[in-house]
Each structure stands twice: as structure tokens, then as C-alpha cells.
Amino acid sequence: MEFLEIKGVSKGYGLPGSRTEVLRDINLSVEEGEFVAIVGYSGAGKTTLISMISGLLKADSGSVKLRGEEIMEPSPERAVVFQNYSLLPWLTVFENVALAVEQVFPAWSQAKQREQVEKYLAMVNLTPAAGKLPRELSGGMRQRVSVARALATEAKILLLDEPLGALDALTRATLQDEIVRIWEQDRRTIVLITNDVDEGILTADRIIPLSAGPGATLGPSVAVDIARPRDRRALNHDPAFKHVRKQVLDYLLGPGGRQKTLVSRKLSLPDLLPENLNEPRTLFGVRRKPRRRSEEKLETVEV
């Protein structure tokens, strides 16, 4: 039995009639402890896919199963790091993480809950910022709080929705390393959504491209058989890196690329006839209509 198994899932938005299918025939299985990256165009439906795994959305057809059990509703056992951090702005960093811990481990003593929060804040190097409000933090720090909140619930699977998308390149690089480091500590299953192929190559065991929408579907998965720790400086010349990148890009730019849409429409050529300037333009104050060839019944042509 697979750990996470998605079979024949499709999902669309809108009412019948004006409905657009966002995802079609999605099949994916992820093993326990695996780090999987899904790479796709923006707007392809990556957030939609992760929302179905988290249970925030229901698939129109097909099934999403975790350990053989159909996912019916959200649950803290599937922790989500949302695309836009989603920290509660009126709670401090500590309180944001504590809210999750109290909710998931209600039986724990206060001291133990506190310890748990502190442990995960330390893990993302945020101990000094524990008392700050989210608006006092940089984007990278906010994202780390969001990661700490997800980790502190000790979920079975972590769903990361473009967690680093809004960050600058340097912060991105640091956080990528941090995520890998944390994953290596206890090997919890991670599904990382990203729009950056290199990010997938640096972090994941396996990269699965998602084709461009509408009607996006997953392409062939590409294993990243590169030993860790991976050196980002080798990214541009190491043949193993280059091979993986080529396979992913070949799909994303080829069969999984943006479809060219064909629109057929009737062309109408202008058919106005030249005006006879010898005739007065207005007749009894009414301006003459322009003459069109398609409307003329009798046309006099000088030969």
C-alpha cells in the first residue's frame, strides 16, 4: 500500500456551463519519507492539487488516499505551509506556533507544549524573534515561522505550497538548505510545490512536472539520483544536475507546455463603395448613408 496515493483525480472551478477544468487525470504515489517536488507553471493548478491533498478541496472525480484511507477533510496530520505564509497577524511568532501545538497535543502539559514550540522555533533559527508580530518580520522569517508551525504538529506529511516563491534568491537558497536539513533529521514525507526546477533538483528525491493548464496533468516523474548534500555551485556544470533539468524541462517546454489555442473567426473585409462627390451629401437635411457593396442591389459600373 502506498503512503500517499492519488488516482485519476480531476478538478474544475465554476458552475456547469462556464466550468473550466483545472486538473485532469492526476496520478501520483508518494512513499513514506520521500521528498517529492512538483514543478509547474503558475496558474497550472498547483495550489488546487495541494488543497486536495490537504482536504481543503474535494476532487471532482478520482481518489486521494493517505495510508489507504480516503482524505475527506483537512487534518493536522497533513500540515500545510501556505503560499502566502498565512500567519495570524494578531499573534506573535510564539503564539502562532503555540496555537497549532495546543490544538494537536491538547493532553500535553503547558510546559511540554511550550518546550515543543521552542524546539521548532530553534530549528528554524527564530528563537530571538519569538515575541515579535509577523509584520515585524521579513518575508523569509515569516516563511520560517510557517514552516515551524507545520513541523511542530508532527504531521505525517508536509505539504509545502511554493514556500519560497516570494523570497529573494539568497534567502531562498538558505531556506532550501534549511528545509533539506530539517527533512534529513526525521525524514517526514514532504510534497514541495515549486515553479523553480533547480529548487526541485536541489531538494527532492523525485521531480514531477505539472503541465500547463487548463486541464493540467502530471508528466513522467524524474528521479534525482544525486548524493546529498547537493552543492548548488555544481548546478550549472555537473552532468547529473543537467540531465535531470533537461528531462524536466523537455516535458514542461514540450508536451507539457502551454497549448497554442486555435480560434477560428469570420473575417469581414471592408466593402464600402466610393462616395460620389457630385451628389450632395445631405438630402433634406438627412445625411446619406455610406453605400456598401453587400447592400447594393444594382450597381452601375463604368467600363
Partner: protein, 294 residues
């Protein structure tokens, strides 16, 4: 002009110019008292005082000051039920406003929450709310009297301490001032970002926890905007209510002084109402700003 700007004089000077222009206009409308020497029909010299001006009944600023002075220099004096210092009256009015306002918030905030949470409830209530909202306090008050005609609380000595007119007064203030709180709360609840709700869903927060930990804090800034506007209306309504009931307070005093023909004190009351309204609004703005940044 550059010189004035540089020393921030314009924020002091321009309001003073505005105030001066306002006083000039007042003087022109109220006119002046002139004493004229004349000879009456018996040939005796007499002095006549005449008031010139567009509206000769309007007291001049000087007269207003003279008539208001006893109420201002002893602001808390109580010479009689309807003859008290201006701050004593203000206090009475404020107490009544606060009672009515609190009732408005206690009813309006939950109502706003339900409206924001349920589309069906909004559809059901919207027509009623839209019709009730523009109704004037003068129209509500008689209905309040009818509704609460049997209310009569007496103290030990058989004196009524809270009667139908008191209940009607609170009812009028509450129902008139409720709507901004209701509407803003509803808008605020609808505007809670889906992200926050998703966090609540993923953590499986209970209904009560979602309300108190997510919905309420996210809605607070909107709620306080509504609360500020509601307080403004409550203060607006108080004058009408006091006039109708004859209760002691700024509005009651105003009406009594009009009936007594001492117009100067009407102006005192108007200015007091304006200043108190401004102060209330500023105080609420401070509270509002505190929640805005959160």
C-alpha cells in the same frame, strides 16, 4: 506663504482665519445693539435700543458669552433639575447615550456576525434592515413608548426610577445607532481572508475557537470603525430623545431654554454638543487605530 509653511504656522493660522470668518458671519447675521437718542410724542428725549441685523433675534457672540458664563464657570453646579452647569448636563446626556449605545453594540455585533457568516440570513434580513435603517429617532420614540408602556420600576418611596419614557429613550438610541456596527461587522466577517480560515480548518479548530481565535480578531478593525460611527449617531440621537422626554441633559436644556426664550443658551448647547461629539469621535479613532495596525 513659504515662510508660513516653514514654521507650520498654517496649521495654526488657517484655522484661526476660519474661526474669525465664522465669527464675522455670526456678527453680521446677529447685528449690533444700537442705542439711539430720540424724542417721543410728548417731546421728551428718550434712548431706544434697537438691534440691527439680518436675524435680530439671534444673540450676538457677546450676549451668548454673557448668558453662558454662569454655566461655564461652574460647570458642575446643580441649581435645579433643569438648571445645572453645562458639564453636569453633558454627564447626564453621556450616561444615557452610553446605556443606549451599549445595548446597540450588544445586539448589533452578534447580528452583524450572523449576517457576515450566513448568506441566507443576509438575504432574509437585508430588506428589513434597509427599511429600518433610515428611520428617524423622532419616529422611533413613540413606538418605544408603545412597546414599553408597562415598564415601571419604582424605588422604595414609590417614585418611578425607570419608566416607559426611559425605556423608550434607550430603545430609540439603540435602534438608531445600531446599524453602522451591524453593517461593518458583517462586512468585516465577510472580508476575513480565506487564508486564515484555511489555517483554522487545517488545525481543525472547533467552531468556538475559530470564532475567538480567528474570526473575531480578524474582524476587530472593521467592528471598531462601526462602533465609532454608531457612537456618533447615538450622540446625534440624544438631543432628539431628550427634547421628546424633557429629561435633564444637554438636549433637554436646549429645548427648555428655547421655550424660555433665552436663545443665547441654545447656542451654548449646540457648541457643547459639537465639542463633545468631536471628542467622542477622536477617542474612538484612537481605539480604532490601535486595532488597525494589528
Amino acid at each position: 506663504m513659504a515662510f508660513i509653511k516653514r514654521y507650520k504656522l498654517d496649521s495654526l493660522l488657517l484655522p484661526l482665519i476660519g474661526l474669525g470668518a465664522f465669527l464675522m458671519l455670526w456678527l453680521v447675521i446677529a447685528g449690533r445693539i444700537e442705542t439711539r437718542k430720540a424724542v417721543d410724542e410728548f417731546g421728551d428725549p428718550v434712548t431706544k435700543t434697537v438691534k440691527t441685523g439680518i436675524s435680530p433675534d439671534l444673540p450676538t457672540p457677546g450676549e451668548t458669552w454673557k448668558a453662558s458664563k454662569p454655566y461655564l464657570v461652574e460647570p458642575f453646579a446643580k441649581r435645579g433639575e433643569l438648571d445645572q452647569g453645562i458639564l453636569a448636563f453633558t454627564k447626564l446626556s453621556l450616561i444615557l447615550v452610553m446605556q443606549g449605545y451599549l445595548i446597540a453594540l450588544l445586539i448589533g455585533t452578534p447580528l452583524g456576525f450572523f449576517l457576515g457568516l450566513s448568506k441566507a440570513f443576509t438575504k432574509a434580513m437585508d430588506p428589513i434592515i434597509q427599511v429600518l435603517r433610515p428611520v428617524s429617532p423622532l419616529a422611533w420614540f413613540p413606538l418605544g413608548l408603545v412597546l414599553f408602556s408597562s415598564v415601571k420600576l419604582m424605588d422604595g418611596g414609590g417614585k418611578t426610577v425607570f419608566g416607559a419614557s426611559d425605556a423608550a429613550a434607550l430603545f430609540t438610541i439603540a435602534i438608531c445607532s445600531m446599524w453602522p456596527a451591524v453593517m461593518n461587522t458583517a462586512v468585516g466577517v465577510r472580508a476575513v481572508p480565506q487564508d486564515y480560515l484555511n489555517v483554522a480548518k487545517v488545525l481543525k479548530l472547533s467552531k468556538a475557537k475559530t470564532l475567538f481565535k480567528v474570526l473575531l480578531p480578524a474582524t476587530l478593525p472593521y467592528m471598531f470603525t462601526g462602533f465609532r460611527l454608531s457612537l456618533g449617531i447615538a450622540w446625534l440621537v440624544i438631543v432628539a430623545v431628550e427634547m421628546l422626554t424633557g429629561r435633564p441633559g444637554v438636549g433637554g436644556f436646549l429645548w427648555q431654554e428655547y421655550n424660555a426664550g433665552s436663545y443665547s443658551r441654545i447656542i451654548l448647547c449646540i457648541l457643547t454638543i459639537g465639542v463633545v461629539g468631536l471628542v467622542l469621535d477622536r477617542l474612538m479613532s484612537l481605539v480604532e487605530a490601535r486595532f488597525k495596525t494589528a
